[in-house]
């Protein structure tokens, strides 16, 4: 069981590029230089546009300017399959002002307005339940636990909009391996901060607090499942779930719990907050699935924030948010219409 869980090839059956197949950084940097020289030359205006676009496609992270608002937190280009979408990153202004974080209010502008009260120092994350090494990690220990990577993920909200966000963090699997789950641990439960003093929304009864999410062990161990500390090359803004959050790119956004304080290893499937509040609308799995509608709207398409204009047609939503090659295997044989 453990061997299977901790094996890096646990997503076997999928085409991962070999290390040797990944373009070395030096080479693509040279290629970019070459493109820039070409662009700077007498190649003409259209070539400039083409060349700069190609350079962006080569390394999207380079095209993302640091917003310069918070402390820097950078990561190396991730080698995890699917972790570097070539799509254009959502403007930081949108990604940090249009948020669902009900602890700060139900309006999407509320978190940016009110989250400044969140106390992120000191911060500890407690590991408990079915593990050999339970305990508390303070934030600094977590930051040092594994090398930081930049992962550019699509984010699809259950409400029908999407973003592309360059996160900084490492695979949750790194932490899980460290605490050594017991064979009886089948699920991981994520418990988030709920402080009525600093989080005005917690005083309302929109949801049961604290906000709780959960993953099956193999989902939690999947290399794409990210423990994130930053975005756009800086530490996470409070409204985006500072100081540490989960990012599960193939599931609807609400599965990616923010401001984690406790990670519990359990045997039975946890009841997640939205599942408790409206089980007919939000399932435990909540994988992005264009073929299973939300009772009140279609999930077949989505609007990309900051990119699709007011009158642009919405884009098609992809199965598992476009990560089917990486995660489809986890759900082989499951009826995703029933287990939505």
């Amino acid at each position: 069981m453990h061997r299977h869980l901790f094996n890096r090839a646990s997503d076997s059956g999928f085409m991962h590029p070999l290390g040797s197949e990944i373009t070395p950084q030096q080479m693509y940097m040279q290629r970019r230089d070459w493109l820039r020289q070409l662009a700077a030359g007498a190649a003409g205006v259209s070539l400039v546009a083409w060349a700069s676009r190609d350079a962006m496609a080569q390394a999207p992270s380079e095209a993302i300017a640091r917003p310069g608002k918070l402390a820097p937190l950078t990561g190396a280009v991730s080698r995890v399959s699917g972790a570097n979408t070539m799509e254009k990153a959502t403007p930081y202004a949108d990604a940090s002002s249009y948020n669902n974080f009900y602890e700060f209010g139900t309006d999407k502008a509320d978190p940016a307005k009110y989250a400044h009260t969140l106390q992120t120092k000191p911060w500890t994350v407690e590991i408990e339940g079915l593990v050999k090494k339970p305990g508390r990690f303070d934030l600094d220990a977590l930051l040092k636990l594994s090398p930081m990577e930049e992962r550019i993920y699509r984010l699809r909200c259950v409400e029908g909009w999407s973003m592309v966000v360059p996160w900084v963090g490492y695979s949750l699997a790194e932490l899980i391996k460290r605490v050594e789950p017991l064979g009886s641990a089948k699920y991981v439960e994520f418990i988030t901060q709920a402080d009525p003093k600093t989080m005005p929304g917690v005083r309302s009864r929109v949801l049961d607090w604290p906000y709780v999410e959960g993953l099956r062990m193999d989902e939690a161990m999947h290399p794409l499942t990210l423990l994130s500390f930053g975005m756009y090359g800086e530490v996470l803004p409070n409204q985006n779930g500072a100081p540490v959050r989960l990012v599960v790119p193939w599931k609807y956004g609400f599965k990616s719990a923010k401001s984690l304080v406790k990670i519990r290893f359990v045997e039975k499937q946890p009841v997640n907050s939205w599942g408790r509040s409206a089980p007919q609308e939000y399932g435990f799995y909540s994988n992005v699935n264009p073929n299973v509608d939300h009772p009140r709207w279609s999930q077949a398409s989505e609007r990309r924030i900051g990119e699709d204009g007011l009158f642009a047609k919405k884009r098609k939503t992809l199965m598992f948010n476009g990560y089917e090659a990486q995660v489809g295997q986890l759900y082989a044989g499951m009826d995703l219409k029933k287990l939505y």
Partner: protein
């Protein structure tokens, strides 16, 4: 104060001023869309704003008669049609924005969406029921239809109000976020209750025979 209000309402620029006021949300939305001032998700903003303004103007329209009677402001009567038509204007915009921005004018899909989702169906029904009211809002229509029947027809507005609140309630139900729904529901409840109480009082007085008009 009522005297001052009556005076203001009698002024010949009262109606144009209120007309401008009612069109301000529309002007703001057009300006905001053109200047990218509607936040990260302008389509959602426009669809929600036009829905909100439909509900607000519906409340204003239904408040005209109770205010006219209780405050003694006969001048208000002349404004009711304008408010009603603005309600219709915003609901048309709301439906248009949903069909265009959300559904890309894909008619088969829109029809399917309306049939499939009670929340959309209820909203759409409210629009459909409001349409004959808007179409018969001019003076000559009253004569064509007959005053009595016209009055009965226009009582559909109460059904529309209930459907509109249900539509809004359902939209917010998934997130247990009912504070605003409650505000609109209470306002409309008071305005409807006032009518029920008043008409039963009339009825009572007539039956006693101690009252002549």
């Amino acid at each position: 104060m009522v005297v001052a209000l009556r005076h203001a309402l009698k002024h010949r620029s009262a109606k144009p001023a209120l007309w401008l006021l009612c069109s301000l949300p529309f002007v703001w939305l057009v300006w905001g869309a053109a200047n990218d001032a509607l936040g990260a998700n302008p389509a959602e903003y426009v669809i929600r704003a036009t829905g909100d303004w439909t509900l607000r103007l519906l409340c204003v329209t239904l408040a005209v008669t109770p205010l006219r009677v209780t405050l003694g402001l006969p001048e208000l009567a002349k404004l009711r049609r304008m408010f009603g038509l603005f309600t219709y204007f915003y609901v048309v915009l709301h439906l248009l924005c949903y069909s265009w921005l959300d559904m890309g004018f894909e008619w088969p899909e829109i029809a399917l969406d309306i049939a499939k989702r009670p929340f959309i169906l209820v909203g759409f029904s409210a629009f459909v029921l409001l349409t004959p009211l808007a179409l018969t809002s001019f003076n000559r229509a009253i004569r064509w239809v007959g005053a009595k029947r016209w009055q009965w027809l226009h009582r559909l507005v109460y059904v529309v109000a209930m459907l509109a609140v249900l539509h809004f309630f359902w939209m917010r139900a998934g997130k247990n976020n009912f504070a605003e729904v409650f505000v609109y529901a209470s306002v409309l409840f008071v305005l409807l209750a006032w009518r029920v109480v008043r008409s039963s009082m009339w009825h009572h007085l007539f039956r006693l025979g101690g009252f002549t008009r």
